[in-house]
């Protein structure tokens, strides 16, 4: 008996194999191509915000400044200067009375329209102002400088003055509270479930429940925060405390799941060796299992926290998107966070805010990606194969 193979069918099968393989590689490239386009687009829109246009003006300090701050500046140039600058001139004079009657040459912030024009973006400058700006630029009286204000200012209604400092501080508060509540509770719960839990119905429910919590939409945690922490317990709305507690509950299952995986990876031989030397169950856990699984626990925690501080939806619900100019003074005062700041800026109608939004996104992504990178490095450095 001989086997007869039709060469055409063989070729067809071979082609199908090639197609299938190509398709699977294409799927991976889709993710890669999206990442490239995405980062290129965000950087293209945002990198200009790290420079800000400044304008050289002669400021003449007179008594009139108290009534009309703009009178200090040449009236031709005054409309180009940011209102945030003219607003602080009287204060500046009050603090330095010796300046009265003198004239000072200063580099000050130009307003957002001038800034957008200098950066070659759409703006609402009048034709007369456009020629003036171009002339001044040619004469070197308008320059682009590194935008330190973006990192040292809070939010502002003037795009050229808006910065991320208050949001960054709010994010730090939130991170601290989230960590303080979710890390100990998560690790303790995971230790109990892996090392001490009896195999009974309650523990089965707890396990299903943790996996389920990890997949519940974050917005529902926001509803929990609103109903329980704000309405029921009476914590102050928009505060970092409420936001941190809400995010802690959201991060808890992530930390529990990661810690359990790390604990489970420790081979039983370690436990048995310690028990054989007379250690108690808790001594085994505290002196051997926990130190050995710590890298895994920290990796999971960092990834969980990175996810938490990138989260916006629950914070929207508990009112952390308010317009907040100053740094929060404590965990109970109104605060905002980076993602919420990005959301607020993205819904502003002024075009100049788009650039700020992208710059905020760049900062947020740098923070989150470096947290993830630290987690991955930690994992690669300390992960042991038993």
């Amino acid at each position: 008996m001989s086997i007869h193979i039709d060469p055409r069918s063989l070729r067809k099968r071979k082609n199908r194999e090639a197609q299938f393989k190509a398709l699977s590689y294409m799927a991976i490239s889709v993710a890669g191509i999206f990442l490239v386009i995405f980062f290129a687009d965000i950087v293209r829109q945002g990198y200009t915000a790290f420079q800000q246009t400044e304008i050289a003006v002669e400021v003449t300090y007179t008594q009139e400044i108290y009534d009309n701050p703009r009178s200090a500046i040449d009236e031709k140039i005054a409309p180009l200067v940011s209102r945030g600058v003219t607003r602080i001139l009287p204060m500046h004079l009050r603090e330095n009375p010796q300046l009265m009657g003198k004239t000072e040459k200063l580099w000050v912030l130009a307003n957002a329209e001038v800034d957008q024009h200098v950066k070659g973006k759409a703006n609402r400058l009048k034709p007369r102002e456009v020629t003036l700006v171009d002339e001044m630029r040619a004469a070197g009286e308008i320059r682009k400088a590194f935008n330190t204000g973006f990192f040292t200012n809070g939010d502002s209604k003037l795009p050229e003055m808006a910065g991320i400092l208050s949001a960054a501080v709010g994010t730090l508060y939130l991170l601290a509270i989230t960590f303080a509540f979710s890390f100990p509770a998560g690790v303790m719960a995971a230790i109990y479930l892996e090392e001490f839990a009896p195999d009974n119905r309650l523990m089965h429910i707890v396990e299903v429940n943790i996996n389920n919590l990890a997949a519940i939409p974050s917005i529902l945690f926001g509803l929990l925060g609103l109903a329980i922490f704000i309405n029921f317990m009476g914590f102050p709305r928009s505060s970092a405390l409420v936001g941190g507690l809400t995010l802690a509950l959201m991060t808890l299952p992530v930390i529990i799941i990661a810690t359990r995986a790390a604990i489970r990876a420790i081979p039983d031989s370690i436990r048995e060796a310690a028990l054989a030397l007379g250690a108690t169950h808790w001594q085994v856990v505290w002196d051997h299992v926990l130190p050995l699984s710590l890298p895994g626990i920290l990796t999971g925690t960092i990834i969980g926290l990175a996810r938490a501080i990138g989260e916006t939806a629950p914070l929207l619900i508990i009112g952390m998107v308010a317009y907040i100019q100053d740094m929060p003074r404590g965990v109970t005062s109104a605060a905002t966070v980076l993602p919420a700041q990005i959301y607020v800026w993205s819904s502003e109608s002024l075009r100049a805010f788009t650039e700020r939004t992208s710059a905020g996104i760049i900062v947020l992504l740098v923070v989150l990606l470096s947290m993830n990178a630290v987690a991955i490095l930690l994992r690669n450095k300390y992960e042991r194969k038993w």
């Binding site: 993710a31 919590l213 529902l220 916006t312 919420a340």
Partner: protein, 409 residues
Amino acid sequence: MTTTYLAQYLFAGFLPLALFGYLAGRRKIRVQQDPNARYKASENLFGWYAVTRMLLPAVIVSAGATVLDLFDLMEVPWPMVAATALLLGAGAMWIGLKAINPGLRVRTALEKTIVRVLLLASLISILTTIGIVLSIVFEAVHFFRIVDFWDFLTGTTWNPDAATIGEDGSAQHLFGSVPLFAGTFMITAIAMCVAIPVGLFSAICMSEYASLRVRRVAKPALEILAGIPTVVYGFFAAITVSPFIVRLAESVGLQADFTNALSPGLVMGIMIIPLVSSLSDDVISSVPQSLREGSLALGAYPSETIKRVVLPAALPGIVSACLLAISRAVGETMIVVMAAGLQPNLTWNPLEGMTTVNVRIVDALTGDQAFDSPETLAAFGLGLVLLVLTLCLNIVSLTVIRKFRQKYE
């Protein structure tokens, strides 16, 4: 005010007492032990023992008072609570300290306490679930007292702001949620059309075809995709993808809104790729190697092996991955808030603006209506449906995947 009070209670009352107990416990055992004995009890353990004795009454009193206060059962003056808690704690500690002698089995007692604390920590997750369910159900009940549940589920007009005149002549708000769910399902469907094929094929590539070098690049790339915050995806969908789709539609002669359902759907699909691919990767790699080798030995190509052997074996796991992906898409908020419309619209055309359940929840709760207005309560009604929906998807998916794991492990 309560916070400063709590801080005072902790730092001025609780911690000094605990520290005192710790030192007293250590001292008590030190004087009782022979300093030259070869085996001695650990002094620190006795210190901790004294501290744990004090914890129970103090915590019970504080927790009890908090509960009474929160439920408005009784007006408790806080100084009295603090004093009672500290006094009872000190009393219990004193009894504990009296009992200390070198023969006392403190380690056993301590470990029992530790395990109890661990048990409490593991119950927090249950409390969280109960909290979510209660907080949503409680407010949703208020809502369904105003709006008929059936009308809510089957009505096709969502118009909470403008009151229309009902049959009996009274003003009625219209809370028909069908257009909202239509929007949610439209966007979810678009997202799944992207995420499931791409995610599944990525998983196949990673586990069956890719060399180590490709994996080393592709895996972090997918992890980065998973690490991008949703508000960033939302911004990208609204600022870059939507205008692109509008221009694309114009070039082929179609009319598209800037708030079209397609762009949040596509971007959400990209966002969910890593979820689908990592879950499918897990299940595909847990299909036993012997099945593959058997098929390859019969002369099948790898693609034939995957299609006829690996995928059917991994099917339950893949289905559960897809269910989790759907649950994720239904619950995703920021992308739709930023890129989808606000106007409820019952349509099959993905190029038109549509709104979704989550958009209306956010809109209702960030608006300036009073908290007990039907507009605000509607958010909890919608939240309830969202909760039930995702809960069902999650539980089915988790059950399927556990059955699958048991089969091969």
